[in-house]
Subunit: 312 residues, 2 copies
């Protein structure tokens, strides 16, 4: 089976390059879409640095255009959401008729957007808890973590349960050592991840600080907590999901005690990349507005982030 399944990676950066190459290591037939690094990787291959051991492939299936790629059974979508306006051009050419998209992107509304392009029964969502960056041409540096939460997409926020398709994803990663959590309810998982991303992605950029600096300050801990509560009331009002205060306190605690960390949005900001504010903060503000509730603190952060994003 491993040799029969064709896997495409759309967006070979820190996330796509790491998970794609891990599957290639397991014997899967992986095909990578690259942009700026295409020439380098085509010639020199791909190298992954990791505390779990470095590895490299001298010959990789590298492509500059999706039209050159073979049709794939699974397309791992690992672009930044700031490029999602390209999805309708990128996904269909590289996807088999019975293939599906495995979306490793941040935020809310990701699967809905993909479903509009490939159909609602062809999307799986993955939430990555990983520190991994593209260090240079053809070099991925995996720094820490790596586990994924995986859930099947259903329209209108229905709960999928544990489908065969997400079990297959878990099996694919068997042997990589990467822990995979299977989620019965992708919608809940997506909103739960916002409990971290809304405060810490946002504040790390606006205040130019890492998680340790942010959580060490009493006013910012309080602000982070208030932002979490606003995510909670939005989840309840707009998608009928309850995120308990215990869950929020656990996230706040974990963020407080973990090693100082620059959230992905701060990494993007420091590297002068566009910020994923629409998929994260913008989506919550729009969900709240549609549900007729107020999220003034998230909205303030969103307004500030748009200024910073446009300014840089």
């Amino acid at each position: 089976m491993r040799n029969n399944l064709k896997i495409g990676v759309i967006g070979t950066g820190g996330v796509g390059g790491y998970y794609g190459s891990q599957l290639q290591k397991q014997g899967f037939d992986v095909h990578y879409l690259l942009n700026s690094d295409f020439e380098y990787v085509k010639t020199h291959g791909l190298k992954v640095l990791s505390p779990n051991g470095d590895y490299s492939f001298n010959n990789v299936n590298a492509y500059q255009s999706v039209h050159e790629m073979p049709k794939c059974d699974i397309l791992i979508l690992a672009l930044k959401t700031t490029s999602n306006h390209l999805l309708s051009e990128l996904l269909p050419p590289a996807l088999k008729d019975d293939g599906f998209v495995f979306a490793l992107q941040n935020g809310i509304g990701i699967e809905q957007q993909i479903a509009q392009i490939v159909g609602p029964n062809r999307v799986i969502g993955g939430l990555c808890f990983i520190c991994s960056i593209k260090k240079g041409p053809g070099v991925i540096e995996h720094q820490d973590y790596g586990w994924m939460s995986v859930g099947d997409y259903r329209e209108n926020n229905y709960i999928s349960g544990l489908t065969d398709r997400i079990k297959m994803i878990a099996e694919m990663f068997d042997g990589t050592g990467i822990p995979i959590d299977l989620m019965e309810d992708l919608t809940l998982a997506r909103w739960q991840k916002l409990i971290f991303n809304i405060p810490f992605n946002g504040l790390s950029v606006v205040l130019g600080a890492n998680t340790k600096q942010l959580t060490s300050h009493p006013d910012i801990r309080e602000l982070a907590w208030q932002l979490m509560l606003e995510v909670g009331i939005t989840a309840k009002s707009s998608v009928n999901r309850v995120i308990s205060e215990d869950f929020m306190q656990d996230i706040l605690h974990k963020t407080t005690v973990m090693q100082p960390f620059d959230p992905s949005m701060k990494q993007d900001h420091d590297a002068n990349r566009p910020l994923e504010i629409e998929a994260i903060h913008g989506q919550v503000v729009r969900h709240a507005k549609a549900a007729g509730i107020q999220v003034p603190k998230i909205e303030t952060l969103y307004q500030q982030l748009k200024f910073i994003n446009d300014d840089s």
Copy 2:
């Protein structure tokens, strides 16, 4: 009269040095409290650079301690509010029994704080619209503007009307060319000034931007407007003053069309001075809380500013 009236300046920086020296130019007997610049000014005097003409005094009455100063009829208080914990030591020694304090400070609650030290009938408030900085030892650079709004303090936010005392202030400045607006209602004037200070002092620091950059961005214009509205509801609820939306729109418009300007809090931040967040944002948050109303956007800004203030 001019020669009989003793005027003390507590805090000889951009503001105190400018207004004090303007009165000295008019023949008043002015005495300056200095800190780091004392030795320099004692020896070399005070120089003021201004688009209206430079001037200097070789000999000035300079003091390092209020205990060395003569008792004054009027004490111009021009310290940053971040030093207001010193007021109970600084004011009484230098003030005649029938003298009063003329407070040229930012924020809300200034006069109340002074009244607790010198008594409620001995405080006048002045709101300065001026760009003036201390450029170096003994050198004040007046860059632009300079007019003042002056009002008499009354306990419990009563309206004083135009008192003889504030008319005397206006007369003192006759001949300086500095426009003086006399205010019947100091409380209203103080809260109206927050319509500018809350959004623009705060956002200029958090976003590292001047007034032109801030007002040019649609989301920040909107955020500034929402912050103004929160000031308005707080003024109504806590001190029963109505600030019209026309007034707010006028401030927003004037801020948009004026030359790019770094508000005082940004100047303080850039110069690594402590920020006057308690007298401005902190006061409004506390007034709102006491009145039982929500000001989530001002509170967010206040939390962020406290982080920045503590961080630097």
